[in-house]
């Protein structure tokens, strides 16, 4: 359904003295999402994951430059196609209530989302129906966003994404700092959407959340996906994981060995030569820094490491 092929995003910024700096928060990213599937993109905060969603929707800021290709249902996405699909075919579930207009009633905002999704004639009915589906009481229609509880805000944001007939849902960090029950509920909603044959991309830093609902997990490091593995590979001692970073990430979890990985992610302003993980990789060799590894299919996984073996 969605296929992202070696997507890079650069930002040009003019620093003092007209010196131009280039930030590259997304590097050669690959991702594939099929209908009926939740793909979690997991990476630490500030690793440019949100930009992936914005790039798919075509709503990056104007100083961003994109390389690579994004395919949707066999069509190469151009800016024009993206404009036609935003809100209709591809929808975003944002992070928090701050993504709602603070001065517009909640009902009106959901209604507007319905209108934009192409349900012009039936938008009012669609809005009512979606309120019912997500158990939002009718009076919430007349509320303002600041009046919503955490759970209601979540359900409102989800309902705005699916009030139309979007087939691809991009959920950008939908569970930050929420009550465990609300987190669970939100994850269940995402699972349901996938079970209705939609494609769901769950962008998160919370690997636990990802493990609960995802079919595939794409591990994000320094702006690229280093490994895409089925959720079943994340078990035991991580024998099913093939990339050194993924293995290290798995071992660092509290319920596993809880061994943190030393070092830091490289800055998007000055990325290392060759493999982005090389400066921290215990298996790095001279070949690793020669050029950027490409994604290779090994067993059920996709791995960006020249030394990985099944």
């Amino acid at each position: 359904m969605l296929e992202v092929r070696s997507l890079s995003i650069h930002f040009h910024r003019y620093a003092r003295g007209l010196r131009r700096t280039v930030l590259t928060p997304v590097v050669d990213l690959d991702l594939k999402v099929s209908a009926g599937e939740v793909v979690a993109v997991v990476g630490s905060s500030g690793s440019g994951k949100s930009l992936l969603a914005h790039a798919v929707l075509g709503i990056l800021p104007s100083n961003a430059h994109i390389e690579g290709e994004i395919w949707y249902k066999g069509q190469l996405l151009t800016p024009e196609r993206q404009a036609a699909m935003r809100g209709r075919r591809i929808a975003l579930i944002p992070q928090s209530v701050s993504f709602l207009d603070p001065l517009m009633r909640v009902g009106a905002q959901v209604l507007r989302a319905a209108q934009l999704s192409g349900k012009n004639r039936h938008s009012a009915a669609a809005q009512r129906a979606i309120f019912q589906r997500y158990q939002l009481p009718l009076e919430v229609e007349r509320w303002y966003p600041f009046q919503l509880s955490g759970g209601m805000a979540r359900r409102t944001l989800v309902s705005m994404a699916v009030v139309g007939e979007a087939e691809l849902i991009l959920a950008d960090e939908p569970t930050p700092g929420l009550h465990p029950e609300v987190v669970q509920e939100t994850l269940n909603h995402l699972r349901q959407l996938a079970d209705e044959q939609r494609g769901v991309v769950l962008i998160t830093h919370d690997i636990q959340a990802a493990l609960q609902v995802a079919d595939q997990i794409a591990v994000f490091y320094a702006g690229t996906t280093v490994e895409i593995a089925p959720v079943t590979a994340f078990s035991g001692k991580g024998e099913g994981l093939l990339h050194p970073y993924t293995q290290a990430l798995w071992r660092s979890l509290p319920q596993n060995e809880f061994i943190p990985l030393p070092g830091m992610q490289p800055s998007p302003q000055d990325l290392p030569q060759g493999c982005l993980f090389a400066p921290r990789c215990p298996l790095a060799t001279a070949e690793c820094t020669a050029e950027r590894p490409t994604m290779r299919a090994i067993a059920q996984n996709q791995v960006r490491c020249i030394h990985a073996q099944g």
């Binding site: 929707l57 809100g87 975003l92 928090s96 993504f99 207009d101 001065l103 507007r112 009046q147």
Partner: protein
């Protein structure tokens, strides 16, 4: 309950403000080197003797110490009497009323015009930030923000009244016509230039403010989400932008009443427009203490009301304040 407490607080503050301002202006006028009798009598000064002069001063109570004069003025104010204007030979309240209505047309027109135009220009400029349209609007706004009102008034007067003769050179009505016979069109004709001056000056502030606010909003999370829903630039501004910039713009426009008042003093002087501003200048130049104090009190009240309205409006319109942020 809350509203009541708020109003009482405002009222107390107003009374304190009026008192302070009246003491301050009284002190300033007492220190003024202009002799009110001489200013009143003018060129005839040579013809009146010292006794006559003394009599006038006595009748006006000018010989008493300032504190006594102030107390006398204050006690008659308590009875609702603002005193009599020396230069117009009318009760101060009457002068202010007449003059204020003349000024009100002028200020009101300028207020609405500058508000609407300034807002529209600000939206246009903010929506296309960085484009040539934006550059032009901003250049214009900065230019105006640094233009003195009287200078602009003179410029307009020279171009439109003296050279082009499209507008009258002075006054609110044609000279030599009885007030009852002045037509509405004539009044409007006389209003155009002074109102234009004030509007042009008033536009800059609201334009720049609206532009900045719109740019901030267009970079907000909720605009990003609206774009993700497929909203285009027009939709973004129509559905989310206007709603969010209108409130600060209205507040600013109410708060700008004081500047409008200040501007009208200068504009009325240049156009010899017989409004409150012109009366203020006259009262100051000729040391007409009761009139000056009356105008000062009145304009304080006027400006204060403007600011209070802005404040109250904010509370009534913004749902976050109106409904109270509970949790």
């Amino acid at each position: 309950m809350n509203i009541l407490r708020y109003l009482i607080k405002k009222l107390l503050r107003l009374i304190l403000l009026l008192f302070t301002i009246s003491v301050l202006s009284f002190t300033l006028v007492s220190l003024s080197p202009i002799d009110p009798v001489q200013a009143y009598v003018g060129a005839e000064m040579m013809r009146i003797g010292p006794e006559q002069r003394q009599r006038i001063a006595e009748r006006w109570g000018l010989n008493d110490p300032p504190v006594v004069r102030y107390m006398r003025w204050l006690s008659s104010l308590m009875r609702g009497d603002l005193g009599t204007s020396a230069i117009y030979n009318q009760p101060v309240s009457q002068v202010i009323r007449q003059r204020f209505f003349t000024s009100l047309g002028l200020m009101g027109t300028a207020w609405v015009l500058s508000g609407v135009l300034g807002f529209l220009l600000g939206v246009l400029s903010g929506a296309r930030a960085g484009s040539w349209v934006d550059q032009i609007i901003r250049f214009y706004a900065y230019l105006l923000a640094s233009t003195p009102a009287f200078w602009l008034a003179l410029l307009l007067l020279i171009v439109f009244a003296v050279f082009l003769k499209w507008a009258p050179v002075c006054c609110a009505t044609p000279p030599g016509v009885l007030p009852e016979q002045v037509t509405f069109a004539q009044r409007l004709h006389h209003l155009v230039l002074p109102a234009l001056t004030l509007s042009i000056i008033g536009i800059a502030n609201i334009t720049l403010h609206t532009r900045q606010k719109l740019i901030t909003i267009l970079n907000s999370d909720y605009i990003l989400f609206a774009r993700a829903q497929g909203e285009n630039l027009f939709g973004l501004i129509w559905h989310h932008g206007l709603r969010n910039i209108a409130l600060p713009a209205i507040t600013l426009q109410f708060a700008s009443i004081s500047e409008l008042f200040g501007g009208s003093v200068l504009a009325e002087q240049v156009f010899a427009y017989p409004g409150l501003g012109q009366a203020t200048v006259q009262a100051g130049l000729r040391s007409d203490v009761p009139l000056l104090l009356g105008i000062v009190l009145f304009s304080t009240l006027f400006v204060f009301t403007g600011n209070a309205l802005a404040d109250i409006l904010y509370h009534l319109i913004d749902p976050r304040i109106r409904l109270g942020v509970e949790s």
